[in-house]
């Protein structure tokens, strides 16, 4: 057994510095026989996965971070318990700059205020203490340590770091005199102040040979990000064995203190695996409020209210109150109420759309009418917080996020997202780090896919035909390094719409910085938030909502007022458009595969749209479900359902298990398992087919089905069928919710194509097709497309008569700022009479004038002569 504990370790979550993932660290610690290890990145991005991996491997995880302080030193701080972890988060928060990088030094006041319970490791390579000792200035080193001791709230937790990275020939050679002198000086210094010493190695890579990876990462920082960063000076900053550390640092007390520090951190535990719903009001009060609201809404929508709805509501409210989640539902309602009050379009996505409570509170598709299952969304077997994901008009989504953040300013922050190096960017960045010229980098990466699903770079170079004779084949070192660095995290940013909400202070859970847009952002990604059982609201942006809003605004201008959300879902013209496969621009149904499927499925009703969205997924396509479904839908193949009990479950999809809800219902109906067990069964089928949990669930299924009197052969048949399709199935509630938007967009395209095209074009990147393809289709459908013109164009596409006028920004070189200047000047001082008039009023560069002229944007202006570029004329 190796009793040494590494207390200063930086993984790849110290972006572009450490070379390994936390899980790899844990594996290496296990292989060395060590029992504990710390992770001390420049933040806590990797903390939860480190913690989970360590606990799973039987290793004690020690959580800490490195922060820079007023004198330029880096300090390592370790949490002894969850309270001190909160202090660590606050200190990191103070250090984060507007790029969300920990570059602001901590002041003495900050440290004084937030250091309770934190173990502080001072000294070592990046410290003023060591720098002073190296210069022979012991007094200065002493001053630094004294100052720290006075500032810290827990001075008894201050340790002085001993390091030795000096070169040695072998493990029996004497240590270099300079290294010994420095260590002696440090030990004397600590003794003079009666401070304990501790040995660390400042780990940035796991094995000695990985030093080159560290140098490459810092090379990327220098050459790509233009940061003033030096790599570590040699290859000895790796995860050394205890024996090697004994040899390098011949001070037994310094080694023993690593274990002592580990023992001080033993009471630290992350509260993973438990739910931490925010408690914003007293549970009973919240429950009553939720019941009142939903009952009132139900009475408003249904007259008389059918009994089935009352039973369903009662069942859902019971489950919600049992988990004390009424507050959570009311919070989402409050957010959506705000959006409604501001006229911001929204919809529910995901399994939440299967809940009657969600429907009554937030709108969407009636889950009872479309037979959507609440238990797919929430059941007592799920250990994580239920997700209610709401899509908002992309252009206005930030208003909603800001509302929520302002509502609970101390309790909220955006979720973070970690960006990993993908193969192509790894090649390009490593080439930069190695000093390749830019044109050579472009040549080397041509034809290299952005990502290589399931392949590493070497495998891709070997197997992908487009790379067979690629110049990259001859760049062995570049390929080796890029392959090693692919998939390492290299930066964090703000999640698209995830907001964490906690009951207490958000900084008790995560450091919080400000994004460039001024939003508070935590350092927990969505997996970490789930693992900690925190509430995350996904307030996402959906460009199709923007496109629909803009279309409706154009129709309003024409005097056409449409209540799109109240349209009956049976419009013949809409389905005829979809059957023609002319679905470009229609939400979810415009991809080549979906257009192909539209031609085959020939949708005639809303349930066909739900099926269409669910069918075109990798699982059903590869499992040949699509062909079977289409044939049965058209009566070309007999519908087969294994047992009459399953008729109500499978009849709607002609015996094909298409939806996850059908898996749950089949297991529940046929084998008598509870919905919670059935959902566990579904998830196990998807994620852990070979696990013992799966075997247990299979046993439960067989037992349950036997108890219900089914034969062995039938049980086997149904089990095989369910097992085969469980991982393929799509969430019907999600599909239904999306199908509603599909229908709305198809309706607009079928009835108001001109406005719809303009709405699409002005909504940013909606769907798969670039603007020129949308315009080409508009022209083919008889809608003229007019070129941009300085006297006619606006900042966006606009309706002009029966046609569409392009904006000035489509001209190469004309950006939004220049277009704004031209349009503003025209509105202020009238149309441009001549090219001279334009140039006097707005001095424009020659190349822009040439591009405007070529594009026809100056057509009709006096003194303007159309000059074609000669080589184009000759084509």
């Amino acid at each position: 057994m190796d009793r040494f504990v590494h207390l200063e370790v930086q993984s790849a979550f110290s972006f572009l510095w450490g070379t390994f993932m936390p899980e790899e660290l844990v594996r290496q610690v296990v292989s060395l026989g060590q029992k504990a290890v710390a992770l001390t990145d420049y933040g806590i991005h990797g903390m939860v996965r480190f913690y989970k991996a360590a606990v799973d491997a039987g290793i004690q995880p020690i959580v800490g971070a490195r922060i820079s302080i007023w004198d330029g030193s880096l300090l390592t701080l370790l949490a002894t318990d969850f309270d001190s972890y909160g202090n660590l988060c606050r200190l990191i928060s103070i250090a984060l700059d507007h790029a969300m990088l920990p570059r602001i030094p901590i002041t003495k006041q900050d440290l004084k205020h937030w250091s309770r319970g934190l173990i502080c490791l001072a000294g070592g390579r990046d410290s003023r203490i060591q720098a002073s000792l190296e210069k022979g200035r012991k007094d200065a080193a002493l001053f630094c340590l004294r100052e720290l001791r006075e500032v810290l709230q827990s001075p008894e937790l201050l340790f002085v770091v001993l390091q030795n990275h000096a070169a040695v020939r072998d493990a029996v050679s004497p240590l270099p005199a300079e290294a010994l002198r420095l260590m002696e000086g440090t030990v004397d210094l600590a003794a003079g102040l009666d401070l304990p010493i501790v040995a660390t190695n400042g780990v940035a890579f796991l094995r000695q040979e990985d030093y080159i990876l560290h140098r490459t990462l810092t090379g990327i920082q220098r050459r790509h990000h233009h940061r003033d960063v030096d790599p570590l000076p040699n290859d000895r900053f790796y995860l050394a064995s205890g024996k090697e550390m004994e040899y390098r640092i011949p001070y037994p007390q310094a080694l023993a203190n690593t274990r002592y520090i580990a023992s001080l951190c033993r009471s630290f535990a992350l509260p993973v695996g438990r739910l931490h719903p925010p408690s914003l009001q007293e549970p009973r009060e919240a429950s009553k409020k939720l019941t009142d609201l939903t009952l009132r809404e139900m009475a408003r929508l249904y007259r008389p209210v059918p009994l089935s709805y009352i039973h369903r509501l009662d069942r859902e409210l019971h489950a919600i109150n049992h988990l004390e989640l009424a507050d959570f539902f009311l919070l989402v309602r409050q957010v959506v109420d705000f959006a409604r009050s501001q006229g911001i379009r929204h919809s529910i996505r995901g399994s939440a759309a299967g809940s009657l409570v969600v429907y009554l509170l937030l709108g969407g598709v009636d889950p009872v009418a479309y037979d959507l299952l609440f238990e797919r969304f929430m059941n007592e077997g799920r250990g994580d917080m239920p997700d209610i994901d709401v899509d908002f008009d992309s252009d206005r989504r930030d208003e909603v996020i800001n509302y929520l953040l302002d509502l609970f300013p101390r309790c909220t922050a955006m979720v973070s997202t970690i960006h990993k190096l993908r193969a192509r960017s790894a090649v390009r960045l490593v080439a930069r780090a190695l000093g390749y010229p830019l044109d050579e980098i472009k040549r080397l990466s041509t034809g290299l896919p952005w990502a290589l699903r399931g392949r590493d770079l070497n495998g891709a170079l070997e197997k992908l035909p487009e790379l067979r004779n690629a110049p990259l084949q001859h760049e062995k070192q570049l390929v080796h390094l890029a392959a090693r660095l692919t998939n390492l995290p290299f930066q964090s940013s703000v999640h698209l719409g995830g907001v964490i909400i906690v009951s207490d202070h958000i900084k008790a859970w995560t450091p919080v910085g400000l994004s460039p847009k001024g939003l508070p952002v935590g350092q927990l990604d969505k997996n970490a938030v789930d693992a900690l059982g925190l509430l995350k609201l996904d307030l996402l942006g959906l460009r199709m909502h923007t496109a629909i809003r803009k279309t409706l605004e154009l129709l309003e201008e024409k005097g056409i007022s449409l209540e799109l959300d109240r349209l009956p879902l049976n419009d013949r013209k809409t389905y005829a458009l979809l059957r023609s496969t002319e679905s470009l621009g229609v939400f979810q149904l415009e991809s080549p595969g979906q257009r192909n499927l539209l031609g085959r499925l020939q949708p005639r009703r809303f349930s066909d749209l739900i099926a269409e969205i669910s069918l075109f997924r990798p699982g059903p396509v590869e499992g040949n479900m699509v062909e079977v479904y289409v044939r049965r839908r058209h009566g070309e193949e007999r519908v087969r359902i294994p047992h009459p009990e399953l008729l109500p479950v499978l009849a709607e999809t002609y015996g094909v298990i298409l939806f996850q809800e059908q898996v749950l219902r089949t297991v529940h109906t046929f084998a008598g398992l509870s919905y919670a067990e059935a959902d566990a069964f579904r998830r196990a089928m998807t994620k852990e087919r070979r696990s013992s949990k799966m075997n247990l669930l299979k046993h439960r299924f067989i037992q349950g089905a036997f108890a219900r009197g089914h034969s062995r052969a039938l049980i086997e048949e149904v089990f095989e069928e369910v097992a085969a399709f469980a991982s393929y199935g799509f969430c019907k509630a999600h599909a239904a919710s999306f199908a509603h938007i599909t229908y709305q967009s198809a309706y607009l395209k079928a009835h108001h194509p001109q406005a719809f095209y303009v709405g699409l074009l002005n909504a940013g990147h909606v769907g798969s097709y670039p603007p020129y393809v949308i315009l080409n289709e508009a022209r083919r459908r008889g809608i003229p497309v007019y070129p941009p013109h300085v006297n006619a164009s606006e900042l966006e596409y606009r309706v002009e008569g029966s046609g569409i006028r392009a904006p000035l920004v489509v001209v190469n070189g004309v950006g939004p700022a220049m277009a704004r200047r031209i349009v503003a000047d025209r509105k202020r001082r009238g149309t441009f009479h001549s090219q001279r008039d334009l140039l006097i009023r707005l001095p424009l560069p020659d190349r822009i004038v040439e591009a405007l002229s070529l594009a026809g944007a100056l057509e009709g202006l006096e003194e303007h002569t159309w000059e074609l570029i000669p080589e184009v004329c000759n084509v």
């Binding site: 699903r453 080549p592 595969g593 031609g599 603007p771 497309v785 070129p787 001209v811 026809g856 004329c873």
Partner: protein, 160 residues
Amino acid sequence: MFDRAGNDQVFDPAAVTLNEARSMTVFCHAHPLVALRPRLAAAGIVTARDLRHIPSGRKVRVTGLMVIVHMPPTKSGKRVIFITLEDETGLIDVVAFPKAQVSSARAILTSEVQTVEGRLQRQGKDGLSKSIILEKVIPHLTGSLSEVLPTAGRMKQTGS
């Protein structure tokens, strides 16, 4: 020349469309392949509209701007490339299976205007769903078209 209503009055439409292709990110007057259609027709290349009347299984050649190259994940790991081309009459869907990728993948992933040859596959009612099963990219035509059509940067690669 265009008047304010977008009507073509004076100049050769072929030259105007190519001017647009050179100076804008969209095509307002017409699709740029309109200008090249006589040459393409002479080379036996059919349009998206022609495909509606060609029986399933027939070998065809089409030319189009590359709009989307999609490589969805597959459970088997086998890579299928879905390509969407566009000519002046509509969208053309092309599927490249691994065998065809051997000789064509590089051209597919690097050229933004493409002439391809393959078998037409029609499915569904009245053969409404059409795709071309790629057999080969015609390099000399693809190369010469790339020279005259300035379309750099328009192709979108997804799911790769």
